[in-house]
Amino acid sequence: MRLAIIAALGACVGSARADDGPASSIGGGLTIRGATIGSAASVGAGGFVDATVRRGDLALAGVASAQTARLAIGDATPPVDGLLLTAGAALRWTAGRFEPERYGDRRYGIDLRLDLGAELESYAWDGGGRLTRPGVFVGAATQFDFGRVSRRARGEVTIGLRLGLARPHTTAAVSRAACRGACTPTPAPVAYDAAWAIVLGGAWGR
């Protein structure tokens, strides 16, 4: 697995091209997220901020988000509301680039961006209880680059999708969060948890 990741990163570096996108940028936007937490399911929405440093087709981004979360297990147990905070880092690769217009340093582009990253997620449930764990994710996004939008700033808008994997919490921890104690019947253990997120955001940089 480690060799595969190193090989993928090597391929990205080896294929890096010159790029006129912002060398550094900050951004933010909206996200809708769903995740399995053992045999329970959580859905929610919120906002995120990110900061990116780019070199050629590769970029390194730090991302943090705050989202609502509603945890449900079965139809007999009422759902539990909470807050999800995440913080992580992602390696972003511009794998495709289409530029219908370019006038000097003014560039319009539609780019394909692939993400590979890791994050720490922490759920805080109403009435007490916290579930925290690390996870990994992959993502793909279409990025609309508007080039220089003012004398100092460049702008871009991104819409994308992420899929994540994480090691599951213990059945006891899931029961405490989802059922305020013990669930009946006892939830079955799972091998891993999965998550998805739709991301819509913008970024400004130099």
């Binding site: 045999s39 495709g96 793909a140 899929l163 939830p187």
Partner: protein, 187 residues
């Protein structure tokens, strides 16, 4: 080995042969890389109700005339609400896509529209709280695509295409139906 498995192995062998010999399509594209955001209706475990999922797919393609050979990786998650039914799906395989009908409007930039039929095969992993299912698959799809081709484009990828369509994937004992929007960067 079941019927679907034999068909999947034969199709993958043909796809590999085609990809190795592919050259360029009529718009000059030799290869493309793309992504798709898609919905997935999953009905794989016998006796279990179907479920709707959300997925993402990536592909790498090579062209020869009106044909494209492509390698694909697709993932989806589904959660219909009941306990022990949260499901994850992963597909890895290949497909050949045929632009059966095509029209091009030539101006400063070329705008083309195609109707595509594709046939694919590969291996599918499905998992939920009841355990994993791992099987070969074969698939058939129908897509409509719009291609923007700009030989003067400043970037390294002078073509962009948008495809909208659906695909039926068959495995032994089940099936999935996928629909979504795909974007491809071609050069």
């Amino acid at each position: 080995m079941g019927t679907v498995s034999r068909a999947a192995v034969a199709a993958l062998a043909l796809l590999a042969l085609g990809a190795a010999t592919a050259r360029a399509d009529e718009l000059g594209r030799r290869r493309g890389v793309g992504m798709a955001m898609q919905d997935e209706y999953i009905r794989i475990r016998p006796g279990q109700d179907g479920m709707v999922g959300l997925g993402i797919a990536l592909h790498l393609g090579r062209y020869w005339r009106a044909l494209q050979w492509r390698g694909e990786l697709a993932g989806a998650v589904a959660s219909p609400g009941g306990p022990a039914q949260h499901a994850q799906l992963l597909r890895a395989g290949g497909a050949v896509r045929w632009a059966a009908l095509a029209t091009a409007i030539r101006s400063i930039r070329t705008l083309g529209m195609t109707a595509n039929l594709d046939l694919g095969a590969g291996y599918l992993w499905y998992g939920d709280a009841m355990g994993p299912i791992r099987r070969p698959y074969v698939g058939v799809g129908l897509f409509g695509a719009m291609i923007m081709q700009d030989p003067r484009a400043a970037g390294p990828d002078p073509a962009l295409s948008f495809a909208l369509g659906t695909r039926l994937t068959l495995v032994e004992g089940g099936w999935t139906m996928t629909g979504g929007l795909e974007i491809e960067w071609g050069r």
